[in-house]
Symmetry: none
């Protein structure tokens, strides 16, 4: 996708066409349009299009729920028909939970993100249709689409809020962006305690426990020691944490109220 830059007001500017257009077909409540705009911007989607919103446009009811994503509302393009709204798009999805008799192939939630990015990188403009609250998309809109996208939803409670549906799509799209695996730990390798420090901590602890008569009977000492060490090893402690625990052992071993 295209790069994003910030303008002088710190607002994010992304080249239109580098992200999917979100097309809300006949949305009813301004609050939902605003909340959808907020969810879009959360995940870096900025191309909002409205097809014949019920209460007209602009709609003041959309502002509070947009929570700062007002640029998206101001820049929203309004169309009379779905066909006009999607005219420039070449890869189009229909978000719908309803089973259709249409021969439009379903695309899996696990593959749609990569498909969108591949199209965008190839210069293809992409988009997704969301239908009105309650009624959902009409078949005539769905047949404009390359694929149907359906979320894995609870069949007994399948009516997703419009802005929720947009937000989940945003997550799906954004999370498919050039995915490198996250580091397993926040801990910087350089901060991690070396084995030597860890073993010294174990020996310090076990020495004090010996003096306290903790290892009883003696025959069980080896097993008990393993059980003590395992969780500390798993914890991937930092140098600082090892120092802290050395202090703890010292403080406790000195007996109550005698640390200073």
């Amino acid at each position: 996708m295209g790069g994003s830059v910030k303008d002088q007001l710190g607002r994010i500017q992304v080249e239109i066409g580098a992200c999917p257009a979100v097309i809300l077909v006949n949305p009813q409540l301004g609050e939902n349009i605003g909340a959808a705009a907020r969810a879009m911007l959360n995940f870096g989607l900025i191309d909002l299009r409205l097809v014949a919103p019920r209460d007209g446009w602009p709609n003041p009811a959309s502002e509070a729920t947009a929570a700062g994503a007002t640029n998206l509302l101001n820049d929203a393009k309004v169309f009379e028909t779905t066909a006009e709204a999607v005219a420039d798009l070449s890869f189009l999805l229909a978000a719908t939970a309803r089973r259709r008799e249409l021969e439009i192939p379903v695309i899996g939630t696990g593959e749609v993100g990569a498909a969108l990015h591949a199209h965008e990188q190839g210069g293809t403009k992409t988009g997704i249709l969301f239908g009105p609250e309650k009624a959902g998309l009409k078949n005539e809109d769905v047949v404009l689409c390359n694929h149907i996208l359906t979320y894995p939803i609870n069949p007994a409670f399948h009516s997703l809020n419009l802005a929720q549906a947009v937000g989940v799509f945003g997550y799906i799209w954004k999370s498919a962006e050039g995915t490198a695996p996250p580091p397993a730990f926040d801990t910087e390798p350089s901060e991690a305690a070396c084995r030597e420090d860890l073993v010294r901590m174990f020996e310090h602890l076990e020495d004090e426990l010996d003096k306290a008569g903790f290892f009883f009977p003696e025959a069980k000492k080896e097993l008990m020691s393993r059980n003590i060490r395992a969780p500390f090893t798993r914890a991937n402690m930092t140098e600082q944490e090892v120092r802290t625990f050395r202090g703890i052992i010292k403080a406790l071993a000195k007996g109550r109220g005698k640390a200073r």
Copy 2:
């Protein structure tokens, strides 16, 4: 996870414990609590817990946005503290977008779903904390968690609506259903210590350290306490290991040679 059936009223019935608990810590707006409940039920999550909701509970403002998920609101459990709310859970996530100085490992959005299902299949109760609107989770809550979960969010507009955050989590969990359990867990899920046992261990340790004059100066106690708790939380301790460490604390605190 356990199967879901409908009762005679058509309400969905899922065995509690078969899905993650969603814990909203100090939620402010009833509307957001209702919308979160709706999003939960959309994805089959039914265990809603509230920690000290700002406007009390029940809250009539939550009903309209719940849009039929009123059972979840009626069944919501209310707690005064986060520790109480998560007492029975053994695998706990913190949903947060903020970078933390805490040594709690991040878990990737691509792996967290499978990890949750693996724990649930092993009989481990799981959950996720969401902080209040605007402020987010406090560090003292995050250190109770095995992992931090962060969505791939637009850094220039990262404040996600509370219900949106819950909905995306629901999607992540539900869409990972039926994926192969990851082999990477050292701890047998069924043996994992619950948060209540862990918190009691922390309190026991910190109580003895207090008596030993360890927390000096007093102003640093909170930070020191967090640094002590983080590696224990990361260690994914078993019940047996927690018992062992309670014994260790007791033995050391008694002073040398006086354990028996």
